[in-house]
C-alpha cells in the first residue's frame, strides 16, 4: 500500500500570537480511514481546514497523490470537505444539493444518472425532491456525504461527522460510514473529540494536544500501549499508579503493594497504566492476598452498566476503577457497596508510561 498518498510535512500555523499547529508531520495511506482526535483547542480542525484549503499554513507542505496542493484554492483541490453543520444549501432541494458540484462539467443526463446512483448508495432516493429543512439530522448527514462523494474525491475530509446526530443514530451511522469507506476505497480523514467515535471508525488515529501530535497509531495500540500519561487518560478509563524501585521490586506507596513487571525498567520511578477491565475482582473469602500484583480494598461506588459493572474501589487513600463483566445472569453476583474485595491482574497487563 502506498503510505505516502497524503503527506503532511512540517505544517505550522499561528493565529496572531496563538500557535495552533506546531510542526505537524503525518503520512496517510491510500484508502485509509484516519482519525484526528483531540479536545477543543488541540488544533485538529485547523489541520483539517488546511487540508481543505480554507486556511493557509505558515510553513510546510501538503502533498496529495504526488501533487503539492499547499497553495491551491479549495475549488482546485481534488478533495472534498464535509462540514460539521453539513452546510447544505437551503435554497436548493436535495437533488440540486447533490448535483451542485457536478453541474458545471456534466450534461443533464449524466447529472441525473450520477445523482440517482449516489442517492441509491446512501438510500436517499425518496428524498430527492425534498427541501433541506424537511430532512432529519441523519438524512441531512447523508445528503452532505453524498454531495461530496458524487465528485469522486481522492480524499474526503470530515469535520465531526457524527457530532450532530443523537446517540442511537450515531452508532448506526458509524457502522455505515466504515462500510461505505471500505467499499469506495476513498481515503477518509476525520476530526473528532469523541474517543469512542475515533476508536470505532479509524484504521489509524493521531492524538492531538496543543497543536502537537502526541501519538499516531492504530486504536488498539493506542488503547493498550499508550506512550504518554495524557493519551492513557484521554482514551478510555485509566488507573495511573506511580511506582518506584525498592530493593528488587517495584513498589507503590499509594497501594502499599509490590508490582511484578514482565519488562526491565531502567528508570527508578515511573507511572504505570492499569486498564479497569484487566483487573480481576474476587470476594475476600475465596483468597488470601498475595504480595504481588494484587491488593485488597473496599467497594466505594458501583454502577451497573448492563454488560459490565463498574466499581470504584478504595485502597488506602486512592480509588481504583474496575470493570467487571457480568457473566452470570444472577444479579446477586454483583458485589455490594462496602464489601471488601481482592483485586488482581496479570503482569502483562501493566503498561509502563514513558512520559
Amino acid at each position: 500500500m502506498d503510505n505516502n498518498f497524503l503527506v503532511i510535512e512540517n505544517i505550522s500555523k499561528s493565529f496572531g500570537d496563538n500557535k495552533v499547529l506546531e510542526n505537524i508531520n503525518l503520512n496517510i495511506s491510500k484508502s485509509e480511514f484516519f482519525g484526528l482526535l483531540g479536545s477543543s483547542g488541540s488544533g485538529k480542525t485547523t489541520l483539517l481546514r488546511i487540508l481543505g484549503g480554507f486556511e493557509k499554513p505558515d510553513t510546510g507542505r501538503v502533498i496529495l497523490d504526488g501533487t503539492d496542493i499547499t497553495n491551491l484554492e479549495p475549488f482546485d483541490r481534488p478533495l472534498n470537505y464535509m462540514f460539521q453543520s453539513y452546510a447544505l444549501f437551503p435554497h436548493l432541494n436535495v437533488f440540486n444539493n447533490l448535483a451542485f458540484g457536478i453541474k458545471e462539467n456534466f450534461t443533464k443526463k449524466e447529472i441525473e444518472i450520477n445523482v440517482r446512483d449516489i442517492a441509491e448508495l446512501l438510500s436517499i432516493e425518496h428524498l430527492l425532491n425534498r427541501r433541506i429543512k424537511q430532512l432529519s439530522g441523519g438524512e441531512q448527514q447523508r445528503v452532505a456525504l453524498g454531495r461530496c462523494l458524487i465528485k469522486k474525491p481522492k480524499l474526503l475530509l470530515l469535520d465531526e461527522p457524527l457530532a450532530a446526530l443523537d446517540k442511537k443514530l450515531r452508532s448506526k451511522t458509524q457502522l455505515e460510514l466504515t462500510t461505505l469507506q471500505k467499499k469506495l476505497k476513498i481515503t477518509f480523514v476525520f476530526v473528532t473529540h469523541d474517543q469512542e467515535e475515533a476508536m470505532s471508525l479509524s484504521d489509524r488515529m493521531a492524538i492531538m494536544k496543543n497543536g502537537l501530535i502526541l501519538e499516531c497509531s492504530s486504536p488498539e495500540e493506542i488503547y493498550e500501549n499508550p506512550k504518554s500519561l495524557y493519551t492513557a487518560n484521554f482514551i478510555g478509563i485509566a488507573n495511573i499508579i506511580e511506582i518506584y524501585k525498592k530493593d528488587e521490586n517495584f513498589y507503590s506507596d499509594d497501594l502499599d503493594i509490590n508490582f511484578k513487571l514482565n519488562k526491565e525498567l531502567k528508570k527508578t520511578k515511573t507511572n504505570i497504566l492499569l486498564r479497569p477491565e484487566k483487573i480481576k475482582i474476587q470476594s475476600i473469602n475465596n483468597l488470601k492476598t498475595s504480595s504481588f500484583n494484587s491488593f485488597s480494598g473496599e467497594i466505594l461506588e458501583k454502577s451497573y452498566l448492563g454488560s459490565f459493572t463498574r466499581y470504584e474501589i478504595k485502597v488506602n487513600n486512592i480509588i481504583i476503577s474496575v470493570l467487571d463483566q457480568n457473566f452470570n445472569s444472577n444479579s446477586n453476583y454483583n458485589f455490594p457497596k462496602g464489601e471488601k474485595v481482592i483485586c488482581s491482574w496479570e503482569s502483562e497487563s501493566i503498561k509502563i508510561l514513558e512520559d
Binding site: E73, F75, Y81, A87, F89, F100, E104, R131, C148
Partner: protein, 291 residues
C-alpha cells in the same frame, strides 16, 4: 384581556396613518376646485337638498397632460437608477460588515448610521458646496491640472443621483446587513469546496440566499426616492422635472389641491399596487422555497 387586542395594533397603525390620510387625499382629489380657503368645494352639498358634488376632471386633467406623466416616469427612472447604485455599493459593504469581526462590525455600523445624526438638509447642502463651480472638488481638479476650467458638476441629473445614493445608502445597507448577518459562511466554503470559484459562488449561493435582504433594502430606497423632492430641488437643474417637485408646485404654487391630490393618489396607487402584488407573490415564493 388587553393582549387579545394587541395583535390588532399594526392594523390600527395602518388605518390611522395610511388609510385615513389616503381617504382624505382621495376625497380632495374628486372635489371641484375653486378660489378660496380651502381651495375646493365640499363633496356633499346640503343647500338645496342633498347633492353629491364630485368630479373626475382632475384625473382626466393629469392623465391627459404629459407634463405630469413624464415627471412621474422621470421619478421612476431616477428611483430605479438610484436603487441600482445603492445596491451596487451597499451589497459589498453590508457583506463586508456582516462578515467582519464583532469589534470592527460595530464600528462600521456606527459609521453607517452617523450621517443620520446630522440634518438631512445640511448634508445635501454640503454636497452643493463640494460640487459648485468654486467648490472643493473643482478647486482640487484645477490645482492638480486635471481640468483647465471648472466643471459644471451641480444642477444636473447626475448630481441628483449622487445625492440620492449618498442619502439613501444606509437604508440599503441596514436591512441587507440584518439579513447577511445570519448568513452561514460555511455555505460559501462548501460551494468553493465543491468546485465553484468566487464568482460562481457569488451567483449560485450568496446572491440567491440574499434575495430577501435585497428586496427589503431596494423597496426601502425605491419607494421614498420616487417622491423625493428636496434633493432634485437642491442639486438638480431644470433639465428634468420630477414627480415630487410637480406635486409641491401643484399644491403650494398653483394652489390646485384637487389636482395635486389626484396626482398624489394616482402615484400611490401606481406604486403601491404592484408592490403589494409583488409582496404577496414573493412571500408565497419564499415560503415555498423556505428562504
Amino acid at each position: 384581556m388587553f393582549e387579545k387586542y394587541f395583535v390588532f395594533s399594526p392594523y390600527f397603525w395602518l388605518v390611522l396613518f395610511f388609510f385615513i390620510p389616503l381617504a382624505i387625499i382621495f376625497k380632495i382629489s374628486i372635489s371641484v376646485s375653486e378660489w378660496g380657503m380651502p381651495p375646493y368645494q365640499d363633496i356633499f352639498l346640503f343647500d338645496n337638498g342633498f347633492k353629491i358634488n364630485t368630479t373626475f376632471e382632475n384625473y382626466v386633467y393629469i392623465f391627459s397632460d404629459y407634463y405630469y406623466i413624464g415627471s412621474f416616469v422621470n421619478s421612476l427612472i431616477l428611483a430605479l437608477i438610484s436603487t441600482f447604485f445603492c445596491l451596487l455599493i451597499g451589497f459589498p459593504l453590508a457583506f463586508y460588515i456582516a462578515t467582519s469581526n464583532i469589534r470592527l462590525r460595530n464600528i462600521l455600523l456606527v459609521l453607517v448610521v452617523i450621517p443620520f445624526w446630522s440634518s438631512f438638509l445640511l448634508r445635501v447642502y454640503a454636497w452643493k458646496i463640494i460640487l459648485q463651480n468654486n467648490g472643493i472638488l473643482n478647486v482640487i481638479l484645477l490645482n492638480l491640472g486635471i481640468t483647465s476650467e471648472p466643471l459644471q458638476l451641480l444642477y444636473n441629473q447626475y448630481a441628483v443621483i449622487m445625492g440620492i445614493v449618498y442619502t439613501y445608502l444606509p437604508l440599503m445597507i441596514l436591512p441587507l446587513y440584518g439579513y447577511l448577518n445570519k448568513f452561514d459562511l460555511n455555505l460559501i466554503e462548501a460551494s468553493k469546496d465543491l468546485g465553484l470559484n468566487r464568482f460562481k459562488t457569488f451567483f449560485k449561493v450568496i446572491l440567491p440566499l440574499s434575495v430577501p435582504g435585497i428586496v427589503a433594502g431596494s423597496l426601502l430606497v425605491f419607494i421614498p426616492v420616487v417622491g423625493e423632492f428636496i434633493i432634485p430641488e437642491m442639486l438638480g437643474g431644470s433639465d428634468r422635472l420630477y414627480y415630487g417637485k410637480i406635486l409641491w408646485e401643484e399644491f403650494f404654487v398653483n394652489r390646485n389641491w384637487p389636482g395635486a391630490s389626484a396626482l398624489a393618489f394616482s402615484g400611490i396607487i401606481i406604486l403601491v399596487l404592484p408592490i403589494v402584488i409583488f409582496q404577496i407573490l414573493y412571500s408565497r415564493w419564499s415560503q415555498k422555497n423556505e428562504i
